[in-house]
């Protein structure tokens, strides 16, 4: 089996584009269809494409499965942490308005952190699923 030149070069061109597009979807959730979940899935497809074309061993060198698992937990912790921070500052669970002195900027910060948590968890879970299916 010879190497697959076309797919290798096309993937090299596409992967940065895909990751940047995922981050665009992540941060423009309030202007269009988007948000943490979709962005996480798109971001993980960049890694899955890399794993498909270059092999799962190379993907392990880029990002180790243990790191991915920790990231999945970290995203969930971020979500729960923002929720608990709302309680600690005297509001309800996931009440963003109390996170900063000004309610509006508090809501901005809260949404940003929550979406980041969701995105990180979803992307890591997708990559974990790929690892699970890809290992012989």
């Amino acid at each position: 089996m010879e190497h697959h030149l076309v797919l290798r070069v096309v993937a090299r061109l596409l992967i940065p584009l895909i990751m940047l597009f995922a981050l665009y979807v992540q941060f423009h959730g309030d202007y269009g269809p988007g948000g943490g979940f979709q962005a996480g899935v798109i971001f993980s497809t960049a890694f899955i494409l890399y794993g498909l074309i270059y092999g799962v061993d190379k993907l392990r060198d880029v990002i180790h499965p243990d790191v991915v698992r920790s990231l999945a937990a970290f995203g969930l912790l971020l979500y729960a942490g923002v929720g608990l921070a709302g309680i600690l500052s005297g509001g309800e669970f996931l009440n963003y308005s109390v996170l900063a002195i000004d309610p509006v900027s508090g809501q901005h910060l809260g949404i940003l952190l929550i979406e980041a948590g969701v995105g990180i968890t979803v992307a890591s879970t997708m990559v974990i699923l790929f690892y699970a299916f890809a290992s012989p």
Binding site: G32, I42, T45, L52, Y54, G55, A134
Partner: protein, 96 residues
């Protein structure tokens, strides 16, 4: 009105693509039909965004184009080797 006729034509084309996926003989025929279906779906989503006057649908069309490509590669690799993460034997060059 303008876009509706074209949208129905595209829907009809999607139906034809599905039929060809069902009657395709080899597995490659079926993958090809699914790939065609995906390409037409991208166009359908873009047209639908203009029909309902919500151009934000274009983001979804772009995502669909991306997922379509990766699906084709993943299914091909799965049918060829039985697992998706197979690494290459030749130094740093992978074949699908």
């Amino acid at each position: 009105m303008m876009f509706e006729i074209v949208t129905y034509m595209i829907l009809f084309a999607m139906l034809l693509a599905l039929i060809s996926a069902i009657i395709g003989q080899s597995v490659y025929d079926k993958i090809l039909a699914v790939n065609i279906f995906g390409t037409i779906t991208v166009l359908f989503i873009a047209l639908f965004g203009f029909l309902t006057e919500r151009p934000e649908f274009l983001d979804i069309a772009l995502v669909y184009a991306l997922i379509n490509f990766i699906t084709t590669i993943a299914i091909l690799k799965f049918f060829e080797y039985g697992d998706m993460g197979r690494s290459s034997h030749i130094n740093d060059q992978a074949d699908i």
